[in-house]
Subunit: 167 residues, 2 copies
DNA sequence: TTAAACTTTCAATAATTACTGAAAGTTTAA
DNA sequence: TTAAACTTTCAGTAATTATTGAAAGTTTAA
């Protein structure tokens, strides 16, 4: 496998994974391209490499910036803007986890808490609703907390938690 | 919030979360409905409750069964088939993690390994491709392994790993 | 066997989501 | 200022994905 084959394989695989996880293909592919690019790229560069339109490129770059994993850079003396990816894999993971938690998981946890706290009325179906949504609430809340802690590299927390587990 | 409101809120929230994570709405909603149902439901029951067609119901129930989180049940003396959800939240998480890992993560890890192992040719762009995909490979591989271990409740592994971390 | 009761399949269609390209907007050098 | 160089927006269109419903398939009781 030569450079071009490897690059294309990486970009298309990353795009496909994105699609499977609810991220649009162009957005994932732009991210992949910037992730492996040694230098920042202009909009033209991206459009040309991925064969996508100016509008599409602009919209998805904005989203990537909203996610905090792509940054605008200006080269001195040039009018054009360049775009660069966050390059540190830990920071990438941290940022993605943080945003998915904030936008998608936390709101669901809130609903699960509300729903699981309705008053029981003695019927079986209400009991079951409460029991099952409560279980989901506890799982989601724990997983969310743990993920955020791990990804925030709060090693003190991790160590403390582990100590408790072992004792 | 009464029972019906809570039920509807849970089902629609679960459906919306599914959509965000690349799972179709009907599939997520059928799962939600069975998750809180005290007894197995027939196809008719599901169609009626969620206002979806027979074909849609049948196809999505099959997918849920493929994921290993919904099961067919037959009541003695009845021709009709009934469907029930896995009810244990740990087992649900275990199963979903296992399937997403197998179907989606493992194949991507394989590609990342291949791509990150191409021969360097001394150019900057090839070095960057190798470095960045290798970093992603290591992150994904570690995360996948850890998730599977945690979710498989391999507490021995967890304890050992934690001991190492603390020392 | 057969026919009623039920489930699955799949071609057609609807709904959703993504993408384009040109017009409008913005920035900056002169 | 203004006009060139660039980016953003968004209405229209394309592509993808989900859904329907009826025909085909399956199962079982008699």
């Amino acid at each position: 496998m030569n450079y071009t084959e490897a690059k294309d394989k990486f970009i298309s695989t990353w795009g496909a994974l994105g699609t499977l996880w609810g991220i649009n293909k162009a957005m994932a592919q732009i991210h992949a391209l910037l992730w492996i690019s040694p230098q920042p790229l202009s909009m033209e560069d991206i459009m040309e490499e991925l064969h996508i339109s100016r509008g599409n490129t602009s919209m998805n770059l904005r989203q990537l910036m909203d996610w905090g994993i792509v940054f605008k850079e200006s080269k001195p003396g040039e009018r054009k803007e360049y775009f660069a990816s966050e390059k540190d894999v830990q920071e990438l993971a941290r940022q993605v986890a943080k945003e998915r938690s904030r936008r998608e998981i936390k709101p669901v946890i809130k609903v699960l808490r509300e729903v699981s706290r309705i008053k029981g009325d003695g019927t079986k179906k209400t009991e079951e609703l409460i029991k099952q949504t409560k279980a989901l609430y506890e799982l989601a809340d724990n997983a969310d907390t743990m993920m955020n802690k791990i990804v925030n590299q709060e090693s003190k927390w991790l160590t403390k938690t582990l100590m408790k587990l072992i004792k």
